[in-house]
Subunit: 289 residues, 2 copies
Amino acid sequence: ATASAEPLAMVREALRWRLARPVLVDVSDDDDTDAVFMEAFRLGADVVTANKKPLAGPLDRYRALRAAAGTHARLLRAEATVGAGLPVMDTLEMLLATGDRLVRAEGCLSGTLGFVMAQLEEGVAFSAAVAEAVRRGYTEPDPVADLSGADVARKAVILGRLSGIALAPAPVAARGLVDASLAGLPLPALLDKLRALDAGFAAQVAAAKRDGRVLRYLARVEADRIEVGPEAVPLDSPAGRLQGTDNLIVFTSERYESRPLVVMGPGAGIEVTAMGVLGDILRIAAERR
Amino acid sequence: ATASAEPLAMVREALRWRLARPVLVDVSDDDDTDAVFMEAFRLGADVVTANKKPLAGPLDRYRALRAAAGTHARLLRAEATVGAGLPVMDTLEMLLATGDRLVRAEGCLSGTLGFVMAQLEEGVAFSAAVAEAVRRGYTEPDPVADLSGADVARKAVILGRLSGIALAPAPVAARGLVDASLAGLPLPALLDKLRALDAGFAAQVAAAKRDGRVLRYLARVEADRIEVGPEAVPLDSPAGRLQGTDNLIVFTSERYESRPLVVMGPGAGIEVTAMGVLGDILRIAAERR
């Protein structure tokens, strides 16, 4: 809570002069802004977040956050946390509001990892694919944050919680492309380490190809399990057909059962993330009118 | 207007005992319910429609409808008119509300025609594909309503109007798979006529295949032109990869330019159409709270 002392004080100060319909927007990368959100709810503000961390922490903290929103009749929206501006949360919300029940949400939630998997498919060595992703600015400053799968796991947890599929403490099985312990290495040293993985990935890609499959970094959210990791999927499936850095979310529900509802497109970038945030603010404004 | 006399009277009667937030829902197949909508606006009701016809008629009538909604500060929602429950209109609305500008909306808007094109791709004769679509209950009572492209053209016009892409009287170039003059024939007689087209379609499919393409029934909405008809598209494109009766909508905008935003899934059926209608009612309820 120490880390939040300053944002907390700022929020308290700002909400002393209450606007008619105050909305707190979190575009930070801070860990514990859920405490700030709860204070904002108490002071009469709704919350929009592009920051995944306050929604993907321990389940009891997420439940407390939801309870606080309920107690103070406040809204919490998070479209930009998964797929940036793509209509992921909106679609989820509409399915649930109209009485559907989600069975499974799965897809490719990282443009960075999508790019790396596509490079592997084209025969590029893993270390070279990562180097190219870094060169193009697709990765976090420390690429291990992407490669370890931690960021995708957060998105999967948020999908599970907001969809109501995985409200219980579902076990999260997250397999990274690399071990999280590599975090913090300077880039040349990291790429050196990654070279040791090149042959292994090439063998996996070749084995998948023999089965008419391709490797994709998948997130799958079901009632009793959240899985995140590389997987060989049929070439002729929505994930298999995905190109470049596009994101993909496939919703299977009671209503969309034999054929799923699919949303696809660029899932990262400043403009489309800003769209997700602004869209949430506009929805709140419309409801508070 | 004679045809609307009864609905008009019903709406007037119902709205005499005004609910707090009345919503008129059109799930009819009537031609001129735009007159009923305007009366509903005047009497203080919002409107939700699954019926395409009142939005796809002459442009001046659509403009008058919009003007009436504006004058009386009423809402008009039509999610179910394109893609049933798929988030097509919602996505469009969110793109525009957050300041994006649509460049193009294109896709496959008919599950029936999607099925027929997929059958052609598999080598089934055109007349046999239509017979099978009828047998499975995919078509309107008179299959010519689907095959002439009139229904898809209506959806394209609605997309153009609601997206603001084609608010001017854009020319609509609609090519059907069969001529609309075949309407009204008994099924055996119709299938007899269609057999004369089998060889032509088989040749088109074969020619497309030689180019790495497949035939799809496409709708394309741009500022200066709305096109609807069969087209040979690359196998490796969103439309080319489409399967079965799924619908596909591809939005290209200033923000989603190099890579489009794609929505895909079942676009017909009672449950998913009801979802589109109920979702619109819930959005109105939220905004009128």
